[in-house]
């Protein structure tokens, strides 16, 4: 860029192309500071030695050109232009001791600092993005055992559950009555055997309930089972002609006694 000599007839074709590229790309700049940083690169010097005055002139020329091409410039570009015009005048004119506020040099130094800082951040961002990145260059655990499931309700089952479930189905029909209920069930055969042993001593009428085995009268299930079995056994013995059974009235105690042969 050539500062203020931005006359169309005075610039070469290539310079004009470059200038137009700059103008056309105006939308690509992220604000005046970004544009200033781009312009400053054309000075091809370390940002710390940059001529802020030259930069201000480049910027003002850019804005002029944009106006001539009737490009819409955002307000902040124009604000920056006004500020740079002010800065330029401060830098060009000898300092006025009576004037308040920061000197042109101070303002220029701050602008240079801002440009340098922005460029430093750009470089740092590039370095950051050039680092190995998780999920691109290095990787986390692919099979996590928990974290991904944490939010959801998960259903679990252990191998034991599975085994027990399966055993439950497969043994339900065959084994369960024996395995599960045997200890709470008295069969008629058992009762009969017991009664045969006891009946010999029962000469007189005795309450049926006294024939129930000890320990079977507490648990209702066992009591029911043993009552039914003993009663059935009594009937069987009566059928065999070994005992007699009587009951005074409905729900009265059932009594049993040994049948004496010939005592009809």
């Amino acid at each position: 860029m050539q500062g203020e000599d931005f006359q169309e007839d005075a610039v070469s074709v290539s310079e004009r192309v470059a200038a137009e590229a700059l103008i056309v790309d105006v939308g690509a700049y992220e604000g005046p500071l970004d544009l200033l940083l781009t312009l400053s690169r054309t000075q091809k010097v370390d940002l710390r030695q940059i001529s802020i005055l030259a930069l201000a002139e480049q910027y003002l020329a850019f804005v002029e050109q944009a106006k001539r091409l009737r490009l819409e410039l955002a307000a902040d570009y124009l604000v920056m232009a006004a500020w740079l015009a002010f800065l330029k005048s401060r830098l060009l004119l000898p300092p006025d001791p009576s004037e308040e506020g920061p000197s042109g040099e101070e303002l220029a130094a701050h602008l240079a600092f801002q440009l340098e800082r922005l460029e430093a951040m750009r470089n740092s961002a590039a370095k950051l993005m050039a680092r190995d990145q998780l999920g691109r260059d290095f990787f986390a655990r692919g099979i996590t055992e928990d974290v991904q499931r944490v939010r959801r309700v998960t259903y679990t089952a252990t191998l034991l559950d599975l085994m027990q479930g399966y055993a439950r189905i497969r043994t339900r029909d065959d084994f369960r009555p024996f395995v599960m209920d045997r200890q709470h069930v008295m069969t008629m055969e058992q009762a009969l055997e017991r009664m045969r042993g006891l009946i010999g001593f029962a000469g007189d009428w005795t309450d049926f309930a006294t024939y129930l085995p000890d320990g079977w009268d507490v648990d209702p299930q066992r009591r029911r089972s043993t009552t039914a079995a003993t009663f059935a056994a009594s009937l069987e013995l009566a059928k065999e002609g070994k005992v007699e059974i009587r009951q005074g009235e409905t729900f009265a105690p059932i009594q049993i006694r040994k049948k004496v042969p010939g005592d009809e």
Binding site: D146, L159, G165, R170
Partner: protein
């Protein structure tokens, strides 16, 4: 791999040293979201590598460590050592026990796969609700297998690799007690009287699928 007895077959590039191959397998097994088969490892690693050997070495290296290299179906994965499962409890937030119906259905599929819904119902003695099957499919513990070559061509269910994974099984044959149950005669899938032909067809089909499912 790069022995000189077959110089004509040599790859243009030599395979990396075995130590390097182990590193590669280690990284792949670590980072991949699913268990990885040897075939897949071969495909991802440089030409000439021998992932099977690398796995064998790596498996030894992780023996007795906090995580182990385990075989899941025909693939490989890194898994927490079984005795350290208690350390993971804090992170499983809301887990619920599977319903009894689901466990029984799952067990039947595991032991009898491939198995049709009708067979499951026959074994359980009650009908299988759609929700139960859906839940097991959603959990990715069972999936649809091939259709049976029986009238109606019913779909079958088989257990998934995820199932094997969850229950720490290399394959469904490892189901503990399976042999014991079988020797006790508890695994006879007796067809209902008069359905002998169906039963035979099942057996034939089952073998076929088993091969497919259980190959190493």
């Amino acid at each position: 791999m790069s022995k000189t007895d077959t110089p004509d077959n040599e790859s243009l590039f030599e395979a990396p040293p075995m130590g390097e191959q182990e590193r590669m397998v280690e990284a792949i097994l670590f980072a991949t979201a699913d268990p990885v088969s040897v075939t897949e490892l071969t495909g991802r690693m440089p030409h000439g590598c021998d992932p099977a050997e690398a796995i064998a070495n790596l498996r030894k290296r992780y023996e007795g460590r906090g995580v182990n290299i385990v075989k899941v179906g025909d693939a490989w994965a890194i898994r927490t050592a079984g005795d350290l499962g208690f350390l993971m409890q804090k992170e499983t937030v809301e887990t619920r026990k599977l319903s009894r119906a689901a466990i029984e259905t799952l067990a039947i599929v595991a032991y009898h796969q491939p198995v049709t819904r009708a067979e499951i119902e026959e074994i359980r003695g009650v009908s299988v609700s759609r929700g139960t099957v859906d839940q097991l499919i959603e959990l990715e513990w069972i999936r649809f297998g091939r259709r049976k070559m029986t009238p109606g061509r019913p779909v079958t269910f088989v257990v998934t690799q995820g199932f094997l994974d969850h229950f720490g099984l290399e394959n469904a044959r490892d189901l503990p007690g399976l042999k014991e149950l079988r020797s006790a005669g508890l695994l006879e899938n007796r067809p209902p009287p008069g359905a002998a032909a169906l039963g035979e067809a099942e057996d034939g089909d089952e073998d076929e699928n088993q091969t497919e499912l259980f190959e190493d």
